[in-house]
């Protein structure tokens, strides 16, 4: 809502500087987003009277204008076609700040010699004053403009842009804002006058109104004005409309807009002759009914939309927009003025569905009091009589089937104290509320608060508490801490696990990324098997602004590959990224299962002693190392089992199992998939589902005492078939008695072991918790291991 302070001053005295007033309003809930100063730059510019206009001696198009500035005469060169003797104009002296009409930048006015004539000032256009784009002629002021008065004082203004919250429909009006200003600064509101002479016949004889659907229309007031003369509205009204951001149209339309801005009540002026008889019916649209609104748009109406109709046809979309068939025209002589109250939800539905939001609908949808209808009708009728030369009919038509009853709220003093944390003295509460025009009675121990009709948002004691608080000032409230019992915690094991995973991966050297939860189907198709996609299609957002963010991701693998691609170009060495976030697995028409995933991607090159990339690319085992760090940190033992994973290279991917349950996958992203995400080079990916891991993450493990007896370490080198996995051998060794741990320390394939074979070397640690091992014991154990390996996997010792 744009609020001109110059206009506002008509309803309330303003004795605060604009910035201070803006601050007070903001603190009280009416956020002033910006202050636009009209004339803020008008230094050195004042009102002048053109006393003489002569031709320029050396130029046909130019004139010499003599300007009286009140005791001082200046003659300047002027090129405007409309300059004339007797005009009041805006005059800029040398040194004044004006807008250069060509560059639109602020410049300082300097003396100039134009075609041989000295010119020490300038008669200014609207563009040069920064008021508008108008530059064909100079700005001509009203005849009563006082000569010599600084222009700033004569017509300067500050315009507040106020964010009115959805509960304060009453503040979408000058009077509404004036009430707030009055309450905040201890002033009284001067309400606009709505009295006029009823010079015409009785309206009741010419107009009848029927509200057929009174659930959607609680009041309908109509007045009738004959003999109006269509023309421009007076300059003061046009200026105010422009200041408020509206375009002046003609006096009739301008008056309805003006009163809407002034009082907040949307109004509509019908050409009475075009209504086809004096019958107005407020009813729901008929099935298939059509109408053209005055913006020229054809609408097909639905039966729950409210229309204003004459005996046969719809003539307006109630509360939203008038119809083209009954619009005020050049030859309009008689106006039927509508001031009605419509159901807010219905107006909102209709205007949203027809995409016909208007100033009127945005006011109705926030809720207006039906009490306002009559006030606005009288005010607008008065202006139609005074400014459009009309003759008002006697009386009004006022159909008011659902009369609003005054609302009285019982506010226990203790409730006020509880909510605010402050026990205010009764006179203070009373004066604050009365300042807002609430009635405030006292019936021990309660306040009885009568709510003024325009405050549709105040209905309960806590609403009144807010009124008191915002007038006293939230800044004035005490600052206290919570007291009382601290509730016991609500365990969140999955969240805890996720946060631990974040810490562990970061500690291991991976960088966390955060990606959007929504992605494309194409991206998901790269990493999710087609049969799964068709069986359980990912959820889709139906009104996404971008096709890039349309599907709810069911895996984070596509996202981390995208993050990788975005960074490879700038990165040297190893890139290791992870994300910990939710995947959304559809569950029919229920809310989806939101699974916690931790997904990593690794690519690039190992780094040398100096941190520079080496020839050696990262591989699967780098990725596995991170995942192992994660398991180790969680105290979980995982097995990696070769498995084909969709989107990964067969033979280079695995399922990761804990106690037989698959909790993660890992592998090299298939080069085709990598290429689809613009990933250059090999990329290794893992994805863990924390929901599946959680049951295996146990609390603190009981510690094992460190053995007092020395370990014995023996190395063993084996030759096995290439297909035998290291994990399998390790498992066999570690099952043997006395073995504490078997660690792989070499892995070789090549000529020395022959085709189809490989050599693996393990370092085996033997240790007993009960005694020092003898050489004989260890030798026996090792022989047993070699025999078992020979028997189970045909391993031979490498000599």
């Amino acid at each position: 809502m744009r609020v001109s302070l110059r206009w506002l001053a008509e309803y309330v005295d303003i004795d605060l500087p604009p910035r201070e007033l803006a601050h007070r309003l903001t603190m009280a809930g009416l956020g002033v987003d910006s202050i636009e100063r009209m004339g803020g730059e008008w230094e050195g510019i004042c009102v002048g009277l053109v006393t003489k206009v002569e031709p320029h001696p050396n130029a046909d198009r130019l004139k010499l204008a003599t300007v009286d500035l009140g005791g001082e005469q200046m003659t300047v060169v002027c090129g405007a076609p409309n300059v004339a003797e007797g005009q009041k104009i805006a005059f800029g002296r040398v040194g004044a700040h004006i807008i250069n009409p060509n560059t639109r930048e602020a410049v300082e006015l300097t003396p100039a010699r134009i075609r041989g004539v000295e010119s020490a000032g300038m008669v200014l256009s609207e563009r040069e004053l920064g008021m508008s784009d108008e530059h064909v002629g100079i700005l001509v002021l009203d005849e009563d403009a006082p000569v010599g008065m600084p222009l700033q004082e004569y017509m300067g203004d500050s315009i507040f842009d106020i964010s009115v919250t959805p509960n304060r429909g009453d503040c979408l009006s000058m009077v509404g804002i004036a009430r707030e200003v009055a309450a905040l600064t201890g002033k009284k509101v001067r309400y606009p006058d709505g009295t006029y002479e009823e010079a015409g016949g009785r309206i009741a004889e010419r107009v009848s109104v029927e509200i057929a659907d009174d659930d959607l229309c609680s009041r309908y007031v109509a007045t009738l004005i004959d003999d109006v003369k269509l023309g421009d509205s007076p300059p003061w009204m046009q200026e105010r409309l422009i200041a408020a951001g509206q375009r002046p149209i003609n006096n009739i339309v301008d008056i309805t807009n003006y009163v809407m801005l002034e009082l907040g009540q949307p109004l509509h002026a019908f050409d009475f002759m075009l209504l086809g008889g004096g019958k107005i019916v407020v009813r729901r649209a008929r099935p298939g009914e059509k109408m053209t609104t005055l913006d020229g748009v054809d609408h097909e109406l639905e039966p729950d939309m409210l229309v204003i109709a004459n005996a046969s046809d719809a003539v307006a979309l109630a509360g939203v927009m008038g119809g083209a068939n009954s619009e005020v025209r050049e030859d309009t002589r008689t106006i039927l003025l509508e001031s009605a109250n419509f159901n807010s939800a219905s107006i909102r539905r209709t205007s949203t569905r027809l995409k016909a939001r208007s100033e009127a609908s945005s006011r109705f949808e926030k809720g207006l009091s039906p009490e306002l209808s009559i006030v606005a009708a009288r005010r607008a009728t008065k202006l139609l009589v005074e400014l459009a030369g009309g003759r008002a009919a006697t009386g009004v038509v006022d159909v008011y089937p659902r009369k609003a009853q005054p609302v009285v709220v019982q506010v226990p003093r203790r409730r006020l104290q509880t909510i605010l944390g402050l026990d205010l003295p009764t006179p203070k509460v009373r004066s604050v509320l009365e300042g807002l025009e609430f009635g405030c009675g006292w019936h021990e121990p309660d306040y009885l608060v009568t709510v003024p009709y325009w405050r549709m948002d105040v209905r309960i004691a806590d609403d009144v508490a807010e009124e008191v608080a915002r007038m006293v000032g939230y800044d004035e409230l005490p600052v206290t801490n919570l007291r009382g019992e601290i509730p016991s915690i609500i365990p969140q094991p999955l969240r805890d696990l996720r946060e631990r995973a974040r810490d562990l991966l970061a500690a291991a050297g991976m960088q966390e990324v955060i990606n959007y939860s929504l992605t494309t189907l194409e991206a998901l198709e790269q990493v999710v098997p087609p049969e799964l996609l068709s069986e359980q299609p990912p959820l889709r957002v139906v009104n996404s602004l971008s096709s890039q963010h349309e599907y709810l991701r069911t895996t984070l693998r596509a996202s981390v590959l995208q993050s990788l691609a975005a960074n490879l170009r700038y990165s040297e060495g190893e890139v290791a990224l992870f994300e910990a976030a939710r995947a959304y697995l559809p569950r029919g028409s229920d809310l989806p299962l939101e699974e916690e995933h931790v997904t990593g991607v690794i690519s690039g090159w190992h780094e040398d002693r100096w941190g520079h990339p080496m020839e050696e690319a990262v591989d699967l085992y780098d990725a596995k190392g991170y995942l192992e760090a994660l398991f180790a940190g969680m105290g979980v033992e995982a097995e990696f089992a070769q498995a084909d994973v969709f989107g990964m290279v067969p033979g280079r991917s695995a399922e990761v199992r804990v106690e037989g349950e698959t909790v993660a996958v890992i592998g090299q992203a298939h080069p085709r998939v990598a290429a689809a995400f613009d990933v250059d080079g090999d990329a290794y990916v893992f994805e863990m589902v924390l929901d599946r891991l959680l049951p295996f993450v146990r609390g603190p493990r009981r510690y094992e005492p460190v053995s007092r007896f020395p370990p014995v370490v023996q190395d063993i080198a084996l030759i096995v078939d290439e297909g035998v996995t290291a994990g399998h051998i390790k498992a066999i060794i570690e099952k043997a008695p006395l073995v504490r741990e078997a660690r792989l320390f070499d892995c070789y394939t090549g000529e020395q072991v022959g085709a189809g074979k490989k050599s693996l070397a393990f370092s085996i640690t033997y240790q007993s918790s009960g005694h020092s091992l003898t050489d004989e014991e260890v030798a026996r154990a090792q022989r047993g291991i070699v025999e078992r390996l020979k028997h189970e996997i045909d391993a031979t010792l490498r000599s």
Binding site: L422, D462, L482, P487, D503, G509, E512, I514
Partner: protein, 344 residues
């Protein structure tokens, strides 16, 4: 015999001079003075000699042993000194880079979120989470934002393709506030929870708007909780996150699910309150919306709204992160450029 002792002495002393480090000194000791060393074997050979000669030779051998012992000690001290002298006079180039250790970092939003949560946890709030894909009921209806409420305009909503009775009624949650209701449904006062999570708006991005955001919701319900307590809790939070010297502004605002409603702002740390681009020239930056839980919501939860009151607040973590680090474009967060992320 005496000659042999003499030879031993000469040879041992010569070798001792040549021994220049701890290892060769130890080898020298083993060779000459060890259990199987040369001098020891001489001493052992004495048993075959007549008693008088044995005594004389024994004395001579023992004095040689003592002499060599002290020569060793002297030499050891000397070697030690020389070694220290080398270490102490040598100079390493301490500006050579260390061997690179890869450092992983958490995303700045995660770091900021954790700091914010820690501030509230230390005030007795416990952390819970809720669904990001939410029903219209929890996201709107239960918070007094009915289908036709104009406040829906302020929350451009992403709808998910799940319908009930022909209407889309599942949304990407627009705020964390649905968890007020979810928590109250499951528990009884006293309540103090803080709920972090991702939220979504259907809006175009620009330097100050992002369609995906991280928010936290604060909820406290108990007997006697007041607007002053809300103020105190939030001021304490602001002090911990933004520092003692920041100014805080608390003003009236409107959200359908609180009454009275409040908004908190801090003075702009970029311009110090004078007005700049970051604060839209206002000097203040809004950091959160809050208020007293609407009594109707408490009643709907089956709470006695005369007895219990509560407050709620919601704040955006990205905004706070931007203020902390002077980040001027919110879109940097989810572009995941390592050149940005590695700075935190």
């Amino acid at each position: 015999m005496i000659d042999e002792l003499k030879r031993i002495e000469e040879q041992a002393r010569a070798e001792l001079v040549a021994a220049a480090d701890e290892a060769s000194l130890e080898a020298w000791r083993v060779t000459w003075l060890g259990r199987k060393g040369r001098l020891t074997s001489v001493l052992r050979g004495l048993t075959d000699l007549p008693i008088e000669k044995r005594r004389r030779m024994g004395a001579a051998a023992n004095s040689l042993k003592q002499a060599l012992d002290s020569a060793l000690a002297l030499r050891q001290e000397q070697v030690q000194k020389e070694r220290l002298a080398i270490i102490e006079t040598g100079r390493l180039d301490v500006t050579l880079p260390g061997r690179t250790k890869r450092i992983g970092r958490l995303h700045p939003v995660t770091q900021t979120l954790r700091d914010v949560l820690a501030a509230f946890v230390s005030m007795g709030f416990s952390i819970v989470e809720g669904p990001e894909v939410e029903s219209d009921y929890y996201n709107f209806e239960a918070l007094r934002i009915g289908k036709d409420h104009p406040a829906r305009d302020t929350m451009d909503t992403l709808y998910v393709d799940i319908t009930h009775d022909g209407e889309y009624d599942v949304v990407m949650r627009t705020h964390t506030s649905p968890n007020q209701v979810r928590v109250m449904e499951k528990t009884r006062p006293p309540i103090r929870v803080v709920v972090p999570g991702r939220c979504y708006r259907n809006e175009a991005t620009d330097p100050t708007h992002e369609w995906m955001q991280t928010q936290i919701e604060l909820l406290a319900v108990d007997e006697g909780i007041s607007l002053s307590d809300l103020k105190g809790t939030l001021y304490e939070f602001a002090k911990r996150i933004f520092g003692q010297e920041r100014k805080v502004r608390f003003r009236c605002d409107y959200f359908p699910f609180v009454e009275p409603g409040a908004e908190m702002a801090i003075d702009c740390m970029i311009c110090g309150g004078a007005g700049c681009r970051t604060c839209d020239g206002e000097g203040w930056i809004e950091v959160l919306g809050s208020g007293m839980v609407h009594p109707e919501i408490l009643s709907n939860m089956g709470y006695d709204a005369d007895r219990y009151t509560g407050f709620a607040a919601g704040l955006g973590i990205e905004r706070i992160c931007m203020l902390r680090y002077g980040i001027e474009d919110i879109r940097l967060f989810y572009a995941n450029d390592l050149r940005f992320l590695k700075q935190f």
